[in-house]
Each structure stands twice: as structure tokens, then as C-alpha cells.
């Protein structure tokens, strides 16, 4: 069904664009983008969409071709191929599972440039980008640690991959830095987008006394709305627009801000200086702290902003000694875990209630 709908949509796009070909001026650059879900998810895809819109606004005459709900299968290759047929010279493959499809096309179309979110493959016309989220989560922990009254924080994790565990750990380290009694309880749902389980997980955490709930799943919408309906506070992730979902309980959130990078990439394609490579940037470039909710007092805002500035200034919360939650020292005194180690977490830091494997 999905496949058929996509084919029809592509055929429609093709038909419409050929009709318009005579009327329109030649665009300065045609950029293609594929999303794994809907861009209205208040989450990962929305953040990508917002970044691409910023790029479009920054570069006059740029034309954007988009496709939503593109599965992480061979279908993605056909959708992107269609975009290339329409003249796309730069393609953003925005989901982790789109990597191989995009890489295949990069080999057969050396004159088209590709940027993929979250992967590792590289070629002269194929680059990778992502936000260094782990260290930035430290600032979210500061916010949660100051706002909680029960000293219990809830964290819903989709799939406990190393990067997600790193987010949880930095969150707890940040909370502990301002509140030595803060504990983070983790619930794993087993999928990035099982809405009913996300609702049940958020309810479970609130039942266990959590008064601040946060998450690492594709779309924060369900969990934030459950927290709001039960009078709990929430911290968002992926898109800062999620704050609209919780007018009462919103504290702050961590959102991707891809606009600057995408604009620079499009410009580099236009003046033939595309570099690709593997780009990982944190707060201040690819990540931003969302606006604070109405209930957040001034002193908390200052502390969170100061923590975010400290991270921007190069502070790394994963500096030893750091123990896991069974008491074993995992990062020795004097040792620091950098970006290359962020996928390697298979343990929760002291203060986190949960089991990683």
C-alpha cells in the first residue's frame, strides 16, 4: 500500500514538475530529501524538515523535493533515483537505515552529492553528519535535577543502543551535579515508535514516582502528552517544537538544529567545494536548548544556560572517575570518553535505575 502510494506520489510529482518546467525559472540548486516518517511528528523528522526549510530560505532560488515515509529498504534507492531524474544535485538521506541505499547511488552518480544522518560511510561525494547529543544531555539533567520534587526522573528509551545509554548517563550526571539525591529510572519499550507502549512506559514511570519524564524515541509527542495529562513535567528531545504539546509541564528540551550545516552544504555544492567527511557537532551548532516552560524559575534557567555554555566551551561530563550503577569504575580518574566512544556504552552510570543488557 505504502509502496503504491509512493509510486503514485512520485508519478504525480514528475507530471506536475514537467508541466511547470516551462513556467518556472531555472532553480539555483535542486535538493532532494527523504524522511523515514511524517514531518509532523514533533520529533526527528520535524527537526530535519525545519533544517531544510532554513536552508531553502537562506539560498534564493533553491528548489526542495521531499518524500515522507520512505522505508529503510531498497525502496529508498528508487525514491532518490527519481529525485536525481528530476535534477537533484544534493540529497539528504535523513534516517540511519537509508545509508546503504544512498551510498549505492553515490557510486553510480558521481556528479550528485549525498549527506546522510548518523552513519559512517564515506566517499568523495558522500558525507555523514549528526549531532553530538550525549554531552548536551548533561544540561537537560541539570534542568531536571533542579525541577524535580520527588528526586525521581523518568527516561523512556526506545532501543538501548550505546548512544541512547550515553544520553541517559549524561542526563543523570547533569542531574547529580545539582541534586545529589536525583535518580533516573529507565524504561525500554523495545521499538523507536510503538505509541501504546510509550504511553504505558510513561505511565509506569509516573506511577513509580517520577515527576519529570524525558525520552529517546523518534517522536516525543505521545510521552509528553501523557506526562502533561498526568500533571508531570517533561523534557523534550529531537525537535524543540515539542514544547507546544505541554503548555503546563514543559521544562526545556534538546533539539537538532540542522539549518546552518545544511545551508553550508548546499552552498558548497553550488561552488563545487563539497567536502563530505564525518561531521559531528554539539550544542551551539547542530543542537540547541529549547525555550524554557512558564513554570521554570529564573535561577534554574541560569544554571541550565550556564551548563549548556560549559558544554559548548568543551567541557566533557564523561571525565573519570565514573562508576556504573553496580559500583564498578568504568571511566578511570583522568580518563575521558570522547565522541568515538559514545556508541560503546553498555552500562548505566551510578544513580540510574535500570539494566543495560
Amino acid at each position: 500500500m505504502k509502496r503504491l502510494a509512493q509510486l503514485l506520489a512520485l508519478a504525480f510529482i514528475a507530471a506536475v514538475s514537467s508541466l511547470n518546467a516551462f513556467a518556472e525559472e531555472k532553480p539555483s540548486l535542486i535538493v532532494g530529501a527523504i524522511y523515514v516518517g511524517s514531518v509532523n511528528d514533533y520529533g526527528y523528522n520535524r527537526a530535519m524538515k525545519d533544517g531544510l526549510e532554513t536552508m531553502k530560505k537562506n539560498i534564493p532560488g533553491l528548489k526542495l523535493i521531499e518524500a515522507e515515509n520512505v522505508p529503510e529498504t531498497g525502496d529508498a534507492e528508487r525514491v532518490m533515483e527519481g529525485m536525481i531524474q528530476q535534477g537533484a544535485k544534493l540529497i539528504f538521506a535523513t534516517s540511519f537505515g537509508h545509508q546503504q541505499s544512498a551510498f549505492n547511488l553515490a557510486k553510480t552518480h558521481p556528479d550528485v552529492f549525498f549527506e546522510h544522518a548518523g552513519g559512517w560511510m564515506q566517499a568523495p561525494n558522500f558525507g555523514n553528519f549528526f549531532g553530538a547529543t550525549q554531552t548536551a544531555w548533561y544540561a537537560m539533567g541539570v534542568a531536571a535535577g533542579k525541577m524535580t520534587k520527588s528526586n525521581t526522573l523518568g527516561f523512556v528509551v526506545g532501543v538501548p543502543i550505546g548512544y541512547a545509554i550515553g544520553n541517559v548517563n549524561a542526563f543523570e550526571l547533569g542531574a547529580l551535579s545539582v541534586n545529589p539525591k536525583a535518580q533516573t529510572r529507565v524504561v525500554v519499550t523495545g521499538g523507536w515508535a510503538d505509541k501504546a507502549k510509550e504511553a504505558a512506559a510513561a505511565n509506569a514511570l509516573i506511577d513509580q514516582g517520577a515527576d519529570v519524564v524525558t525520552m529517546h524515541v523518534d517522536s516525543p509527542a505521545t510521552i509528553i502528552q501523557v506526562a502533561e495529562s498526568r500533571g508531570a513535567m517533561s523534557i523534550g528531545f529531537q525537535s524543540i517544537e515539542a514544547r507546544q504539546l505541554a503548555p503546563k509541564g514543559w521544562i526545556t528540551g534538546l533539539g537538532f538544529s540542522w539549518g546552518g550545516f545544511m545551508t553550508a552544504t548546499a552552498k558548497s555544492v553550488m561552488d563545487s567545494t563539497f567536502k563530505g567527511g564525518m561531521v559531528r557537532q554539539g550544542l551551539g551548532s547542530m543542537l540547541e536548548v529549547a525555550p524554557f516552560g512558564a513554570s521554570v524559575p529564573e535561577d534554574v534557567k541560569k544554571l541550565v544556560t550556564a551548563a549548556a555554555d560549559k558544554i559548548k566551551g568543551g567541557y566533557n561530563p564523561f571525565t573519570g572517575p565514573i562508576k556504573d550503577n553496580t559500583g564498578v569504575v568504568r571511566i578511570a580518574a583522568g580518563e575521558t570518553w570522547g565522541n568515538d566512544k559514545m556508541g560503546k556504552f553498555d552500562w548505566y552510570a551510578e544513580g540510574v535505575i535500570g539494566k543495560a543488557k
Binding site: 500500500m1 520535524r46 519499550t189 505509541k195 504511553a199 512506559a201 505511565n203 507546544q244
Partner: protein, 294 residues
């Protein structure tokens, strides 16, 4: 097990079970009339997406539930025409209905993804924090039991499920009864799906039922085709899902990967314990096509 954990498991088990109770009761009525419908998953999705869309458009969760019920009733009307009117194979038609439901719900829900809705409110009754659909599950199960086992209509419907030819010989109209049963089934599956999107998650996402339609079909077998037993059976499935998440939140020292197997282990244990008894067998005419009598 602490009191807080127990209370948490019970309340989230109940919330997870509500959609299963409605869809399961709907399938039960349909199967009692001899029609097996494998398309419940699709019907629930149609209910979830149309219900969410109607809630977003009108601002009223109650109108949303009504729209969910209506949309799935109409969709199941198509199924009824195909399997009763055109006498098509029920299993194949049911699976087709499921795929139809996946597609239609995606199409209907697309413009409403990300809308913020006023969810079905929780109304405290005697200290219980649930929504009106949750409270209505027990009266509904009792009502259906009464209709099926204590009224002439119910007798005729069950007779149709056992042997349409005999029901016909007794002066009943088997096809009319089957139409009624299937439409009731569609209506209830739609309400179940609506509860998922309007009350439980307040979100619409494609394929958000994640297999709950098939669990509803399994429930009917567990409940031995008795409406009153659908509630404990649904609670058991709800509890299994709630338990794995609540145990994690409570900080039990077990791997999340092991915990995620809990619902299925529990199901296997019940099946092994319960076994299969002759007297619990399905309606004799289930899944057979009534071609009329000479």
C-alpha cells in the same frame, strides 16, 4: 512487590486492556454468528485514525469515538457484503480487509499527524482514575452476554453460528443475523481503535495498533466464546504488557530483553496450563459459508 508497583501494574493493565476488550467482544459476536474476521487489525486502525481526525476537527473526543465506531462499521459493512452477500472466503477477505484498513487509515490520518487533541478525559469514580470507555467495558460485556444467552435474538444468532441451515429451517434468516453480528463487530473494533488514539496515546501514527487486532482474535479463543470471560482474558494480556514496563520502572534487576518476552511466556504458560477441552470448542459453523438451502 510493593504496593505502588502493584497499583501501577493494575492501572496500566486496565488501560492497555480496554481496546482489546472492545475489539475482542466485537469479534466474539461475529464468530458466534459463524463469521471469522481476520481484519480486526485494519478495523481498529480505521477507528484510530478516523477517530483521531474527527477529534482534531471537532474538538470533541466523544464525537471522535462516535466517528471511529461509524467508520469501522462502514468498513466492516464492505466485509459483510463480500463474505455474506457474495459468499467469498472469510479468511482471505479478512486479511484483505486488514490491508485495506492499513492503507485507508494512513490516508485518512495523514493530514492530522501531529495535531494536538483534547483526549478522552479521565473521570474519577469511587477513586478510580479512568475514562468513560473503560468503565463501560463491564456493562457492555454483561449486556452482550445477556443478548447472546438470554434473548431469542441471541439464540437465533448462536444457532446461525452452529448451523445456518438449521436456523433457516427454524424460520430464522441466517444472513440477516450474520449482517447484524458483523456490523456490531465493526462498531466495537472501531471503538477499541479509537480508545488507543484518543484516550491512551492522544496521537495518531501509521500502524499504531502494532498487532493488537490479532491479539483480540486470540482473546476470543481464550475466552471460550463467552463475553464475560473476554474481560479477564484481556486483562491478562494487558497485565503482561504493563508488567514488563512497570518492573523496569520499579528498578528490578533483570535485563529489558528478558522482560520483553514476559507477555509471550505468559501466553505459552496459559496455553500449556489450560490445554484444549472439547466442550470449549468453537461454534460448529465458524468460518463456513452458508450457501442457502434447497
Amino acid at each position: 512487590m510493593t504496593a505502588a508497583l502493584l497499583a501501577g501494574v493494575v492501572s496500566s493493565a486496565i488501560l492497555s486492556a480496554v481496546s482489546l476488550v472492545y475489539a475482542g467482544l466485537g469479534e466474539l459476536v461475529s464468530e458466534r454468528a459463524g463469521i471469522v474476521n481476520l481484519g480486526v487489525e485494519g478495523l481498529m486502525l480505521i477507528g484510530a485514525s478516523v477517530g483521531f481526525a474527527a477529534t482534531a476537527a471537532t474538538g470533541s473526543p466523544y464525537l471522535g469515538i462516535a466517528a471511529a465506531a461509524l467508520a469501522s462499521t462502514l468498513a466492516n459493512g464492505l466485509f459483510a457484503y463480500v463474505v455474506i452477500g457474495r459468499k467469498a472466503n472469510q479468511l482471505a477477505s479478512g486479511l484483505t480487509l486488514m490491508f485495506f484498513g492499513i492503507g485507508v487509515s494512513a490516508l485518512a490520518g495523514k493530514p492530522f499527524i501531529g495535531d494536538i487533541i483534547q483526549g478522552l478525559p479521565r473521570i474519577p469514580v469511587l477513586g478510580l482514575p479512568f475514562d468513560v470507555l473503560t468503565y463501560l467495558t463491564v456493562p457492555l460485556a454483561v449486556l452482550l452476554w445477556w443478548l447472546l444467552f438470554r434473548t431469542r435474538w441471541g439464540l437465533a444468532l448462536r444457532a446461525t453460528g452452529e448451523s445456518p441451515a438449521v436456523a433457516f429451517a427454524a424460520g430464522k434468516r441466517p444472513e440477516m443475523l450474520q449482517y447484524q453480528a458483523v456490523l456490531i463487530g465493526g462498531c466495537l473494533a472501531g471503538i477499541g481503535g479509537g480508545h488507543l488514539s484518543i484516550a491512551l496515546t492522544r496521537t495518531w501514527a501509521e500502524e499504531m495498533t502494532a498487532g493488537r487486532g490479532f491479539i483480540a482474535i486470540a482473546l476470543v479463543i481464550f475466552a471460550k466464546w463467552n463475553p464475560l470471560l473476554v474481560i479477564p482474558a484481556a486483562l491478562l494480556f494487558g497485565a503482561a504488557e504493563a508488567l514488563q514496563l512497570q518492573l523496569q520502572a520499579a528498578g528490578i534487576n533483570l535485563s529489558p530483553f528478558i522482560l520483553s518476552m514476559v507477555p509471550y511466556l505468559l501466553t505459552l504458560c496459559i496455553l500449556a496450563f489450560w490445554g484444549w477441552r472439547r466442550q470449549t470448542a468453537a461454534p460448529a459453523g465458524l468460518g463456513r459459508t452458508f450457501l442457502g438451502v434447497e
